[in-house]
């Protein structure tokens, strides 16, 4: 019997929904933040055989600790392979990676993503209103992975008709555009948000609402989206996270570094608190190697 969690945050719901996009057969590329947590949750719960691949070069790690970046030391704890970044991306271009999970700051209805810069009024690439990190590996994942899962919060002005900069290609201008551009990967398969799950129409390549989270309404969700959002005729309400999923998240991320951004809001953490919390976190986990 599944036991649903009674208390959970929206970030935890997102990580749980995202983790369900991964299965035992996947070779999965996961990016910074919620995607990293989703990979860890999948591996600890329903998909113990999933192979998680990290950009820095780690393949198939089994770690008692949470990686905070795509190349932090836990990414090769008890790993199958400790390799190079170039090797991992070449493996992806060759077609071995089945799914990549990435985030974005701006998205359009074809799933094109911007993580480079928000130009703002009168701004440009060279002189943007807000400079963002850049592609990292997201462009490569969106280009060549068999499918991509996008993780983004629904916020006003982020789900727009035209994004300022296509950092990572979705379906570009619509049906046939990826093939024409020469891209190898299959493009986006889902968008996990904080209110609902979106998928892409097989014919039109347009993003539509597939499922909503408990307590949300379609009208609420539409308010955040600039285009005329289509809704699945089979729309359903998603299950909340299970107690098991939440327990994994709390153990792996005791200070909310990944899911809560608590680390900054609470000021600078005393070092000894940090040390004790991490030690307790990994000591409470056992691994099957």
């Amino acid at each position: 019997m599944k036991k649903y969690a009674e208390n959970y945050s929206i970030s935890e719901m997102m990580a749980a929904v995202c983790s369900l996009q991964l299965s035992n057969d996947d070779v999965a590329f996961v990016g910074v933040g919620i995607p990293l947590m989703a990979g860890a949750v999948a591996a600890a719960t329903h998909a113990p055989e999933v192979t998680i691949v990290y950009e820095g070069g780690g393949v198939g790690a089994r770690s008692r600790r949470m990686p905070w970046t795509i190349s932090d030391t836990p990414t090769t704890d008890n790993a199958l392979v400790a390799s190079t970044m170039n090797r991992i991306f070449s493996d992806q271009q060759r077609g071995y990676i089945t799914v990549g999970i990435i985030g974005g700051a701006e998205i359009d209805k074809f799933g094109n993503l911007n993580t480079t810069a928000i130009f703002g009024k009168g701004g440009s690439y060279d002189h943007p209103q807000v400079r963002l990190p850049g592609s990292g590996g997201a462009n490569d994942i969106a280009s060549s992975c068999q499918r991509t899962v996008i993780v983004m919060r629904l916020q006003k002005g982020k789900f727009v008709n035209k994004i300022d900069f296509i950092t990572s290609p979705g379906f570009l201008s619509g049906p046939g555009a990826r093939e024409k551009a020469g891209l190898l990967g299959g493009g986006p398969s889902a968008v996990v948000t904080d209110r609902g799950l979106f998928k892409f129409d097989a014919e039109t390549k347009e993003m539509y609402l597939d499922a909503i989270y408990p307590g949300m309404t379609v009208e609420q969700i539409k308010e955040y989206i600039d285009w005329d959002l289509k809704v699945s005729p089979h729309l359903y309400e998603m299950e909340p996270p299970t107690e098991e999923q939440i327990e994994v998240m709390h153990t792996l991320d005791p200070m909310g570094t990944v899911l809560g951004s608590k680390s900054l809001k609470g000021g600078i953490q005393p070092f000894d608190v940090y040390y004790e919390a991490l030690k307790k976190s990994y000591q409470s986990r056992t691994l099957s190697l």
């Binding site: 910074v32 933040g33 990290y54 820095g56 070069g57 780690g58 770690s63 905070w68 970046t69 795509i70 190349s71 932090d72 030391t73 990414t75 090769t76 400790a82 390799s83 190079t84 970044m85 170039n86 991306f89 992806q92 271009q93 480079t116 810069a117 690439y125 060279d126 002189h127 943007p128 209103q129 807000v130 400079r131 990190p133 850049g134 592609s135 990292g136 590996g137 462009n139 490569d140 900069f165 296509i166 950092t167 990572s168 290609p169 990826r178 551009a181 020469g182 891209l183 190898l184 570094t257 990944v258 680390s263 900054l264 600078i268 953490q269 070092f271 040390y275 030690k279 990994y282 000591q283």
Partner: protein, 310 residues
């Protein structure tokens, strides 16, 4: 074996200069923080940074006004906070405007691979259809002469100097890396001057025991600097884990220009060298970071400096 050991001060003084092009080794883990501090102390300006992804060291050097141009895929802090300094530089020109030529991680690595192979460019199926191409005139899209359709070409990179931090090296620069390797194998062949900083200098006979682990051979290396805890507050596989509270201190300070200048003053300008920096961080704290890493990952027979001996 040749003895290429020198101090960090000597290496930075000899192998960096105003206007040089610079690569920063590895990615998030093993990024050379002590090197960034020394480059800032020596006041280098107008550097072109050519790299894949870089976190804290680039943010520090951006704040100190070291860079005028960056060719890279990702310049940010990551999950613990945003890149306030790169934002101030690009959005407001503080302390100076930085031009960014965009790439992705794979294609930034392919540039180093081309440089390492002595080739002018390499082709890729990344970047196609994206605005990275729109805003980077040096990326060319051609029709594959063998018939696979459009393909993007990225130019080779041969930066003047790279600093790569590794777990262990001999005094000539044969070095062995544990854990993920980033693009260090190609960066070490692409750059004209390769400076190895390492947790420990070991006898060449130790290197010979596991030659499969040698990522960089001495013939590619110009200098070797022994620099234990050279990546603090970042991590080194098998040696020490991340010091996130310390990074939070830097990020919080970085929210304002005055804040980050005060931070640089306290932790870089007023600090004589890396040894003094480690004393200031605290040896007990470093031992705890070592414990957090080594409880989870030990390098077999590699780190001879144990916690007790520190």
């Amino acid at each position: 074996m040749k003895d290429k050991r020198m101090t960090l001060k000597e290496a930075v003084s000899k192998y960096t200069w105003d206007g040089c092009s610079l690569n920063i080794g590895s990615i998030c883990a093993r990024e050379p923080m002590a090197v960034a501090h020394e480059i800032i102390r020596q006041g280098r300006k107008n550097i072109t940074l050519i790299t894949d992804t870089t976190s804290d060291p680039a943010e520090l050097m951006v704040a100190a006004g070291c860079f005028s141009r960056i060719e890279a895929a990702y310049i940010w802090i990551g999950v613990v906070g945003q890149g306030y300094n790169i934002r101030r530089a690009v959005e407001e020109g503080i302390p100076n405007y930085i031009e960014i030529e965009p790439y992705s991680n794979y294609t930034a690595g392919l540039r180093l691979m081309a440089g390492a192979m002595g080739l002018p460019f390499l082709p890729t199926k990344s970047l196609l259809g994206s605005d990275i191409i729109t805003h980077n005139p040096r990326i060319k899209v051609i029709d594959d002469p063998y018939g696979s359709g459009p393909i993007a070409l990225v130019p080779a990179a041969n930066p003047d100097t790279t600093f790569i931090h590794v777990q262990r090296s001999d005094m000539a620069g044969n070095c062995q890396i544990w854990g993920m390797m980033g693009n260090d194998d190609f960066a070490s062949r692409a750059c004209k001057n390769v400076i190895i900083t390492c947790e420990e200098v070991v006898p060449t006979s130790e290197i010979r025991k596991i030659p499969n682990m040698t990522v960089i051979p001495e013939y590619a290396v110009s200098a070797v600097v022994e620099l234990p805890f050279g990546c603090h507050p970042l991590s080194v596989t098998g040696c020490y884990w991340m010091d996130n509270p310390f990074r939070q201190g830097f990020i919080q300070a970085s929210r304002t220009r005055d804040g980050v200048m005060a931070w640089l003053d306290e932790w870089v300008y007023q600090v004589e060298d890396h040894g003094q920096y480690l004393d200031k961080v605290g040896r007990d704290r470093l031992a705890k970071l070592q414990e957090l890493e080594q409880d989870n990952c030990m390098i077999p027979e590699i780190i001879s400096r144990t916690r007790e001996e520190m």
